[in-house]
Amino acid sequence: MTDIKADIDVLRGIDPNAPLLEVNDLHVEFRTRDGIARAVNGANFNLAPGETLAILGESGCGKSVTAQAIMGILDSPPGYITQGEVKYRGVDLLKLPEKQRRSVRANHIAMIFQDALSALNPVFTVGFQLSELFRVHRGMSRADAKKRSIELLDQVKIPAARTRVSDYPHQFSGGMRQRVMIAMALALDPDVLIADEPTTALDVTVQAQIMGLLAELQQQRNMGLILITHDMGVVADVADRISVMYAGKVVEEAGVYDIYSRPAHPYAKALLESIPRLDMKGQQLNVIRGLPPALTAVPKGCAFNPRCAFAQDVCRQDPPPPQYIVAPGRTARCHFWRDVVGDE
């Protein structure tokens, strides 16, 4: 019941004309024994209803931490948000008290994870976990909540939802479990869904099923979807726009067609040239030299400079490259974006 009240408090501040979700200059650091790891170092992006934004990057680039910061589920300590705003319809979530934050998390911004088994409570049935959401946040009766749970499992295409609602999480296969998690995330009709590597643990045929389901649900509900992944194939299939992250920064943001045909940042370009393709044989795999930097020791200037084929002296010096505007709605943090994008 308290959550309903907290939600009303949040709703008071909401401006329906403001952008759905805006992240401005977000900084997150982890204070560890080995020093301060700057996991997110000025991330910017925004999301419109019905849009799919992919955050693409390798492990340690800060993409999952960004999602945790938006959701307000960052482990603190050691993680701290030191700067920036996360605005949902004009309300800065970082300034809300925890109780209202929780309400936003349930009702407006939901998240699904890679590992569905550990995200579900093993000692309760799936139906119980779903029903609880409706009873706590919507004040529904036990019977209504169960009915609603079955409907929801039906929507995520779990066969025989009526009987499976009383099964425990371990009785579902990997793909089905991921569907259950999607059902839980969508239970309270959020308008933003963050999916953190939702299909990485699944086989390709199951991945196709889940991505298809997500796209369908997104369209039905006109949700904004943030897809966090390292898989450039999946991104090409579903994303509208892409933010490529490297060492805690969004190094390139662009529409999906632009970035795949003419990337503007050397990292994005090199990444695209380094993956083998199903529909081609004998292509030469380009190799990105070296390793991503440790977040406790990010190189001066542009973080990518030691691995970059375009790097010049200016790249090795602070300040790091600003967000150059490549085209309307398209940015790249590279001094030489013209050279990167310009050839051919």
């Binding site: 030469q284 380009n286 190799v287 030299r289 070296g290 390793l291 375009f310 050839d343 051919e344």
Partner: protein, 315 residues
């Protein structure tokens, strides 16, 4: 066009294997940093580790060289000094028999530590054998030996210890040190064996063991080079804790009259003797108790600190 060339030429043609900077980290001195070295770096910064190891060192020094700490003879008892208070020559006063409590406490360390250490080593050997063989061989070996461990574990400790200690201490001449040591050694290994078994099973299923098996490594090599070094840390920690409890158990048995006896000096006997007059003369009871508690605590804290430092999950 030129930029594409720049990318490919910088990365090198794909036939060249050296893609990562070949001499990464060369500027640094190439010092091997083992897990033990990492653990040491960790321990060095741990206050609990320092406090407990200094305490352990002092206690060991007491056990080995009691004369460093006192010049008094613990067996020099004069009834006329019965329950005399603390003085310059006897820091903790005198007990019922008129013996120097301080000297007795210092000299008591040796028997307590000796029983504790030897019993723990004995338990360690038995536990290691049982743990390794049940964990490594599995199957019916595990089934039979594990039930045996369960049976030992099912024996109520005090009852078992009293029966065994009595059985071993037939010789009226002996002071009981051997009997108590063997008793504690035989009863104490089960937890250590179980811990060893589970960590051996974990290590056995690691990929690097499979890799060594694939190379044709025999059971001896697998156990000694791959499984043992990766599974022994929690076992050692259990032993340090066992050391503490063994010292306490010796005191318990001596207190109950089935431990050390005759003219043997130990904290347990001192506590037992002082118990009767504790209300009128608390000092002979308090001091050995304090030493006992601090010793047990020091060993357990040391074990804890070492375990934390060696636990790779915590780094």
């Amino acid at each position: 066009m030129s930029d594409i060339n720049a990318v490919t030429s910088a990365a090198g043609p794909s036939t060249q294997p050296q893609m990562e900077p070949k001499h990464a980290g060369r500027g640094k001195k190439d010092k091997p940093r083992s897990l033990a070295a990492d653990a040491w770096a960790d321990l060095r910064r741990n206050k609990i580790f320092w406090v407990s190891s200094i305490l352990v060192l002092i206690i060991l020094a007491m056990a080995l060289f009691p004369t460093l700490f006192t010049s008094a003879d613990p067996r020099d008892c004069v009834l006329s000094r019965q329950h005399a208070g603390a003085s310059g020559s006897a820091l903790f006063g005198y007990d019922f028999q008129g013996c120097d409590v301080y000297a007795k406490t210092i000299y008591g360390a040796r028997n307590s530590i000796e029983v504790g250490v030897v019993a723990t080593l004995l338990s360690g050997v038995i536990g290691l054998i049982f743990g390794l063989s049940t964990g490594y061989f599995g199957g019916w070996v595990d089934a039979v030996l594990s039930r045996f461990i369960d049976i030992i574990l099912g024996v109520p400790f005090l009852l078992g210890a009293i029966v065994l200690a009595k059985r071993f201490a037939q010789d009226p001449e002996s002071n009981g040190v051997l009997a108590v040591t063997v008793t504690l050694g035989i009863l104490g290994w089960t937890t250590a064996a179980r811990i060893m078994r589970s960590s051996v099973i974990t290590a056995k299923n690691q990929d690097y063991v499979a890799a060594a098996r694939m190379l044709g490594a025999g059971p001896g090599r697998l156990m000694l080079k791959h499984i043992l070094p990766n599974s022994i840390a929690p076992f050692i920690v259990v032993l340090t804790i066992l050391l503490g409890t063994n010292i306490a158990s010796e005191a318990t048995l001596s207190f109950l009259g089935v431990g050390l006896k005759g003219d043997a000096i130990s904290w347990g006997i001192s506590i037992a003797e002082a118990g009767a007059n504790a209300r009128t003369a608390p000092e002979p009871l308090v001091w050995p108790s304090v030493f006992l508690a601090v010793t047990v605590l020091a060993f357990i804290m040391l074990g804890d600190a070492v375990r934390d430092a060696f636990d790779p999950k915590l780094r």
